[in-house]
């Protein structure tokens, strides 16, 4: 089966700092990593390939340095990787990004499955995966925690979705797009041989023209969302309290306190 995986390079921090003047991310001193959820997406694609055969194609859209996350994808075993990069994409919001990724997937052609992480840890929108599915006109299965069954002949997939109050079992036709949560697998580390191969690899860059993108649907022009201001909210007031004693005593005490403050009902 042919699987496309969409991944994103993000800053390696949960404590994102914003430049108050430009409203953009301060990247200085912050190293970049592959969005953690996307590593589960790559792993799931590799597991499916091991079971059903086929190819894993990994795509990222971003600046030239985003090549690093593609090298990691190659090192763990992706068959093909693509950097979608062009000045014309600058300023793309989730809508324009989903469009560009869907055009790239169409260019790769005939994929049975697209897999994305459930969301990126920088923007946390969780919009790009579903956006890609919509633009490709295929079903979207979000928050997938397990693939129960894939039947390539009948073009059918059954998955479990991790929802707030339980798991939902859904059947869908193929091709489809999945976004995955961390429960789904345990991403592998690359081996030294994989790293050696990846470090040497030349990675193709696809421009807006290469993927046949409509210039009005990418970059700032194609982005109805404008970021007016990004800021860290003020920390909530109040002070902490340390509960001491035996577990059997302090647990009920904690529960009562949480109920008093209406954090739980």
């Amino acid at each position: 089966m042919k699987i496309a995986v969409c991944i994103k390079q993000v800053p390696d921090t949960t404590d994102v700092k914003i430049d108050p003047k430009t409203n953009t991310l301060i990247r200085e001193g912050v190293t970049s990593i592959c969005n953690p959820f996307d590593e589960y997406a790559i792993e799931e694609a590799l597991l499916l390939r091991e079971k059903h055969g086929g190819e894993v194609h990994v795509i990222t859209m971003g600046p030239p340095q985003a090549i690093e996350v593609l090298k990691n994808a190659l090192a763990v075993g992706a068959d093909r990787v693509y950097l979608v990069s062009d000045k014309a994409f600058a300023g793309s919001d989730t809508l324009a990004t989903a469009y560009a990724l869907s055009k790239t997937i169409q260019k790769i052609g005939e994929v049975d499955l697209v897999i994305c992480g459930k969301q990126a840890i920088d923007g946390d929108t969780a919009q790009v995966g579903p956006g890609v599915a919509t633009r490709l006109g295929i079903p979207q299965l979000t928050y997938v925690s397990k693939i129960r069954e894939i039947n390539l002949e009948k073009k059918k997939i059954i998955v479990e979705r991790l929802l707030e109050h339980g798991r939902e079992v859904v059947e869908s036709s193929l091709p489809a797009l999945l976004t995955v949560v961390k429960d789904i697998n345990e991403p592998r580390l690359p081996s030294l041989l994989g790293i050696k191969k990846a470090a040497k690899a030349q990675i193709p860059t696809l421009t807006a023209k290469d993927i046949g993108a409509d210039e009005n649907r990418i970059g700032l022009k194609g982005s109805p969302t404008w970021v007016v201001k990004v800021f860290s909210p003020e920390a909530r007031g109040g002070s902490g309290e340390m509960l001491k004693g035996e577990l059997t005593e302090i647990v009920p005490l904690l529960v009562n306190k949480l109920m008093d403050t209406k954090f739980i009902k």
């Binding site: 580390l189 081996s191 790293i195």
Partner: protein, 389 residues
């Protein structure tokens, strides 16, 4: 533009991968394995899966052939978290795989290397004897040719990776005769574990590297085919010296990585621990300690990487590897000592990883040539009169 301190992309990716592995898979179990003196077959296999065994061995024998600097980075990253696992890896490569790869014939290489590189078998280097430590040439274990077999008698001690369930073969250095100049003729012979007459005993009660395997070996009329000779008869002493030159780089890497780990723990603790109403790292006396530690680690890294670079470029590197081994070991000693000092009473407790660093550090001043022996090696290279003995 000849001087270039950048690591290659491959080396940077490798460091990241090994760091991830060490933090996620070794760190959670290191203390318990140490406490129980338990060798981990699972972690050894994982290091094999990741390609960490055989970094200087071509792919046709199951290695990854990424070079010495990459190898040393891997040992460094594992030692940053745990000395025992770093010891299994460093000894497995430098003392186990290295002599077979460099001196073995095609048949021997094909027979042993693939499983050794996969992390599903270990080989060991039988050099040290109860009465032959720093004076390695004084080996008493002897091998006599009897028809088509070597008959080996003697014993070895402190042999890393020699008595695990997957220890498959030992490269035994034995006296095989007298040279014309009257000195002992030494040769290395491959003796598979389990050969009749070859018995082993695991050594317990170590202060250091408690989760690594150390054994005593006994040979009593142990017979192996004469083809098990490694390289040429009489080359044993030279093979041993060359093996130790490479081994020293990996011991140095353990010192460097261990110091880095101990330093990071000390820095983190100094930022978090408050006394007199402020973080203890903000006191000049402690800030200076941390500054000294960071500086020494940087110096050690420069020296070790240069020695590796010489090795990788086929230049002479005996002097630099002795310097790196000595300096990295002694530097780890100083850094671990100050790291515990910064932790105060907590640093004396096993639940703090810095306690393990403090113990593990001591091996490096002793194993694979004591600091004193390294000074002899260095002294001879810099042209002092006599033999510095």
């Amino acid at each position: 533009m000849a001087l270039d301190f950048d690591l290659t992309e491959e080396q940077q990716m490798l460091r990241k991968m090994v760091r991830n592995f060490a933090e996620k898979e070794i760190a959670p179990v290191a203390q318990e394995l140490d406490e129980k003196e338990e060798f981990s077959y699972g972690l050894t296999k994982r290091m094999g899966d990741l390609g960490l065994f055989g970094p200087f061995v071509p792919e046709e024998y199951g290695g990854s052939n990424v070079g010495y600097i990459s190898y040393i980075i891997a040992v460094e990253e594992i030692a940053r978290i745990d000395g025992s696992q770093a010891a299994t890896l460093a000894a497995g490569n430098s003392l186990g795989i290295s002599p077979i790869y460099y001196y073995g014939n095609e048949e021997q290489k094909k027979k042993w290397l693939p499983d050794l590189c996969a992390g599903i078998a270990l080989s060991s280097f039988g050099l040290t004897e109860p009465n032959a430590g720093s004076d390695a040439g004084a080996s008493r274990t002897n091998a006599v040719l009897d028809g088509d077999h070597w008959v080996i008698n003697g014993s070895k001690i402190f042999i890393t990776n020699s008595t695990t369930d997957i220890s498959r073969v030992c490269v035994v250095q034995a006296v095989t005769g007298k040279r014309e100049d009257g000195r002992n003729e030494l040769s290395c012979i491959l003796v598979p574990n389990g050969t009749p007459g070859f018995t082993t005993k695991t050594m317990h009660g170590k202060m250091v590297w408690r989760a690594s395997n150390t054994g005593e070996l006994y040979f009593q009329d142990c017979r192996v085919p004469k083809e098990n000779l490694l390289g040429r008869r009489g080359d044993g002493f030279h093979q041993m010296l060359a093996t130790l030159d490479g081994g020293r780089l990996s011991i140095a890497a353990m010192g460097l990585g261990g110091a880095q780990g101990a330093f990071e723990l000390a820095l983190k603790y100094s930022n978090e621990r408050e006394q007199f109403g402020r973080p203890i790292g903000s006191f000049q006396v402690n800030a200076f300690k941390l500054a000294d530690m960071a500086t020494e680690i940087e110096l050690a890294r420069l020296l070790l990487y240069k020695a590796c670079w010489l090795c990788e470029n086929n230049r002479p590197f005996s002097k630099e590897s002795a310097m790196a081994k000595m300096f990295c070991s002694e530097m780890y000693h100083r850094v671990a000592n100050q790291a515990v000092q910064l932790h105060g009473g907590y640093g004396l407790m096993k639940e703090y990883a810095v306690e393990r660093h403090y113990r593990n550090q001591k091996l490096l001043d002793i194993g694979e040539g004591t600091s004193e022996v390294q000074r002899i090696v260095i002294a001879r290279h810099i042209g002092v009169p006599g033999r510095a003995l």
